[in-house]
Symmetry: C2
Subunit: 212 residues, 2 copies
């Protein structure tokens, strides 16, 4: 029986090196390469053709979700196991939709990660129990959220920077009343009741950058 060929993708060098050493102790697993972001990962997958990619989700340049989507569409035979430290509802759903065969947390025991990699190589799925819980909560959730219009999204992102309606109106060159109208309708669509809640929502969903 031949080894499972693994590609590690994480922007933290320390994490990559640590994982490589840990994988080295498993006789049936072999790390064939490392990448520091999604774009590198795609290049390496093309040349190395690993069986499984262990992918961090929060990365610069090209994040893990986007990388997973692209990777799965170009190399359907390469499986992806997401490995992340944060448990974000949206990310679980997004990366599963994107084609990941696993979702593990960095705080899991290493054995669980190895088992998820082996499962992925066999075409099976392994999710951390916490990720499973989030997934079902998301799927069965009555949260059929209506999509926001372009203008509404624009307004929301400005609200999420702490701007007042007046300031937003000046920025967009419309009347303050117009901005209020957009705020009202986006609140209704999101099922929220104040701009503060909207700002928090936008941040949580990653609709806007954390700094700015």
């Amino acid at each position: 029986m031949t080894k499972v060929r693994v590609l590690l993708v994480d922007d933290h060098t320390v994490v990559r090196k640590g994982l490589r050493l840990a994988f080295g102790l498993e006789p049936d697993l072999e790390v064939v390469g490392e990448a520091g972001n999604g774009r590198e990962a795609l290049d390496l997958v093309e040349s190395l053709r690993p069986d499984v990619v262990v992918m961090d989700l929060l990365m610069p340049v090209m994040d893990g979700v986007e990388a997973t989507r692209e990777l799965r569409s170009r190399f359907p035979d390469v499986e992806v196991v997401a490995l992340t430290s944060v448990l974000e509802d949206r990310m679980v759903v997004d990366v599963i939709e994107a084609g990941a065969a696993g979702y593990m947390l960095k705080e899991s025991r290493p054995g669980e990660l190895f088992e998820a990699v082996r499962a992925a190589a066999r075409g099976e799925v392994r999710l951390d129990p916490r990720a499973q819980a989030r997934l079902v909560r998301e799927v069965r959730g009555p949260k059929l959220r209506e999509p926001l219009t372009e203008r509404e999204s624009e307004v929301l992102s400005l609200v999420a920077k702490g701007m007042t309606n007046k300031a937003i109106a000046q920025r967009l060159d419309v009347a303050e009343a117009t901005v209020k109208s957009h705020v009202s309708s986006l609140l209704a669509k999101l099922g929220l009741r104040s701009r503060t809640q909207a700002a928090l929502f936008a941040l949580r969903e990653g609709l806007v950058d954390r700094d700015a």
Copy 2:
């Protein structure tokens, strides 16, 4: 020359195991123990008496900053090197104030971390260049922020959950006017101009949980 005795503190098992293996390759460094949170770390420091503690900052139970403060006051001869994946202004300053002798990022090269540990053991300081930049920006910054009172912090955390003044008043069993008063004064202290900005600030500074 005797080895530098190191205690690893991180809530992620994968990270701890990885670091332990990586340290194992350095002939002059020796990992003598691991802890999953600040409280465990304090107990282990007492029994193991390491030379240097490598401390993650974001941990449950007792976070790294608090643990560092407590540790340094009880064991002044034990040095601390902070190791974290996020670069937060506040944390850099806080943990240095708390007595850390180093601040490294998980995305640094492993060699830099080892060098920081050796430096700490010699009583020297090593900061990642990015942490240095944040530190000087913070120190020279005109942002001498006044501390919030207990009540103000309480109100802020509720504001950061998207609650209205009325709802906060009911929760705290005071008049709405009182809540407004607290909001006003905390806005003044933070140099902000709306509750939305305050909520965003609270989230960024980690004064409140991301879910709730």
